[in-house]
């Protein structure tokens, strides 16, 4: 019986070895050798060079700001969705997921067309004799792209944690004398923290590693760490440096996940 069950795990086991473990080992292998194949820490230390550390810092800053904007937009929306009757909210949830059915690249390119100097938004603004907007190729455009693309990943987990909440728990808080604000701060928000944490992770991590959004909406002026790594692999053909920087990025992702896990634990009931 036991061997039969482990047999069922076979396909996934094969998958994870072939496409997760081996590539990971290869990244680490390339990251710790130089072009002659000798062991080195230079590729890791390369993060300290001004251009690399700047790219990493910009990445962290922009993903952090995007995550906060996503959270601020998503939480009230998730609350509204969770309070709706099932028929209504299925429609609204669909509206939010609908853009995700469109190709990621296409959506981002669409924003480029909208934001360009002679793009749709500026045409409309000019038509009304309003000053034109110059946010293409700025950090603001990248943040906009990140928020637009990753917002559903923040809404859905928060919505799930709110919708799963027992209505009577909220009723019990009212019953014990709490008003709406007290109920929200002491009961609803603490109970939704697991959803918030997974939402934050699902927005922050892809935002930190993206290179497509910054390439399309940031022009070549703003380099994120994702763009640097991509260039090392595709243009400079320096796999060793690319792998080394990837490892550094991985460490930052693991760090951010540890921080959110700690926040989750302490966050329970700690508000107010």
């Amino acid at each position: 019986m036991k061997s039969k069950r482990s047999l069922l795990a076979g396909p996934y086991l094969f998958w994870s070895v072939a496409f997760i473990i081996i590539p990971l080992v290869m990244v680490f292998y390339y990251g710790f050798i130089d072009e002659n194949g000798a062991f080195t820490l230079e590729n890791i230390a390369a993060i300290a060079s001004p251009e690399h550390s700047k790219a990493l810092w910009v990445s962290i800053r922009l993903s952090f700001v995007s995550t906060i904007i996503c959270f601020v937009l998503a939480y009230p929306l998730a609350m509204i969705l969770a309070n709706m009757s099932v028929n209504q909210n299925q429609f609204i949830v669909l509206v939010f997921i609908l853009p995700m059915w469109m190709n990621f690249l296409l959506r981002t390119l669409a924003w480029q067309t909208l934001l360009e100097k002679n793009g749709v938004i500026n045409m409309i603004l000019n038509f009304f004799s309003l000053p034109s907007l110059n946010i293409i190729n700025t950090e603001a455009a990248i943040i906009l792209g990140m928020v637009y693309n990753f917002l559903p990943f923040m809404v859905l987990p928060i919505y799930n944690s709110l919708a799963r909440m027992d209505r009577d728990v909220i009723n019990a808080a009212h019953d014990l004398g709490a008003n709406w604000i007290q109920t929200f701060c002491r009961i609803i928000f603490p109970l939704s923290i697991p959803g918030v944490v997974s939402g934050v992770t699902m927005v922050f991590v892809p935002a930190l590693t993206t290179f497509v959004i910054s390439a399309i909406l940031g022009g070549s002026k703003i380099l994120l760490i994702g763009n640097v790594i991509e260039q090392e692999f595709t243009q400079a053909s320096n796999w060793n440096l690319g792998s080394g920087l990837s490892i550094v990025l991985m460490i930052f992702i693991i760090l951010s996940m540890i921080i959110s896990a700690i926040l989750d634990k302490d966050g329970e009931g700690a508000l107010l």
Partner: protein
């Protein structure tokens, strides 16, 4: 005991066009253990939620101590609720759960600590302060839910099928516990259940409800011994309900026989329903009683034998401590005092009974 603490007046409530409560009028006296009893969908929980403030009636008013509280939110009402699935705050310790209402009211720390100790002692869970709700069994969680409510010293405690999820033994223990609590605390209990045994055991007053109407209000003894209609008789305990004709005062005719009874004032030759409890039927040897028949089923139930007797074209349910065998010829006899006469449903209120049957 005579002071009307809560008064519901002309309450109507419907959900999505379905009438749940229809012109409900009910008062609850101070220090009373009142049970709302009925099958699911009878409106008992909705009534409780209207008293608690979680639902607003479509029309009608709720008075608390003479004051109209119909539109007062739950957090402003002087009553607390114990919810069906406990509704404990899973992210807080037991002590924090119990302290919740007191912290909202800005009580001092020493007051809160004393209250937590007192409440845990009251529900026999001393020393559980630091545990989390998920570490407790269902029965223990239920006690915490009760403790969390009573530390606020409410005038009224509302309980929504609080024992529904517990097993039989635990449920019986908790029934005695609740009676003890009520007597110790001296607060009014409004209790919702579909379990008639629970209602009979604990209540001072039982309100039997069906399809949004109150069927009967009375003490457990009144409800059991003198059900006002067939629904109440059928819902409370086992019973034989038979179509009959009231021949004259103290004489009723059914299944082709005339039976002496003690009821008067139903008029002459009026159609009525007769209720006879299975334990009130005396089985005698054939020819010795009022109606002869034959035993068709016998089941041993522990305290008594449950038997079915075919007599006069009706299958009688009989409880007896003496055993009869299947196929045995017997004769049914009933003490006139144990024949309960009920009016046939006439009014709209009682029509609900017919649909249910």
């Amino acid at each position: 005991m005579s002071n009307k603490l809560i008064n519901l007046s002309g309450i109507n409530k419907s959900f999505d066009g379905t009438m749940v409560l229809d012109d409900l009028n009910l008062y609850i006296r101070e220090n009373e253990f009142l049970t709302l009893l009925g099958p699911s969908g009878c409106g008992k929980t909705t009534t409780l939620r209207i008293i608690g403030g979680f639902e607003t009636p479509d029309s009608g008013q709720v008075f608390f101590n003479g004051e109209d509280i119909t539109n007062l939110p739950p957090n402003k009402r002087q009553l607390n609720t114990v919810f069906q699935k406990y509704a404990l705050f899973t992210h807080m310790t037991i002590a924090e759960n119990i302290a919740f209402g007191l912290k909202i009211k800005n009580k001092s720390k020493s007051y809160i600590d004393d209250k937590i100790k007192y409440a845990l002692k009251l529900v026999n869970l001393d020393g559980y302060e630091k545990r989390m709700p998920h570490q407790l069994s269902g029965g223990q969680q239920q006690r915490i839910a009760i403790a969390r409510a009573i530390v606020n010293e409410p005038k009224v405690l509302l309980l929504d099928e609080p024992l529904g999820a517990l097993d039989l033994k635990l449920r019986q223990d908790m029934q005695y516990e609740l009676i003890r609590l009520k007597n110790e605390l001296g607060i009014t209990f409004i209790y919702v259940t579909h379990d008639q045994e629970e209602a009979l055991t604990m209540s001072d007053t039982i309100v039997v409800m069906n399809q949004g109407y109150i069927q009967q209000i009375g003490t457990p003894e009144m409800i059991y011994n003198e059900p006002e209609n067939a629904f109440v008789a059928d819902f409370i305990g086992d019973s034989n309900i038979i179509d009959a004709t009231m021949v004259q005062d103290k004489l009723v005719s059914f299944l082709g026989c005339k039976w002496a009874c003690v009821d008067t004032g139903f008029g002459n030759n009026k159609p009525v329903d007769v209720v006879i409890r299975p334990e009130d039927i005396v089985l005698k040897d054939a020819g010795q009683g009022t109606l002869d028949g034959e035993v068709t089923h016998v089941i041993f139930k522990g305290v008594h034998y449950e038997m079915e007797v075919m007599a006069g074209g009706y299958e009688w349910l009989v409880h007896s401590t003496s055993m009869f065998t299947v196929g045995q010829k017997v004769s049914i006899s009933v003490d006139p005092f144990n024949i309960q006469i009920m009016n046939k449903p006439e009014s709209e209120d009682e029509e609900a009974v017919q649909i249910e049957e």
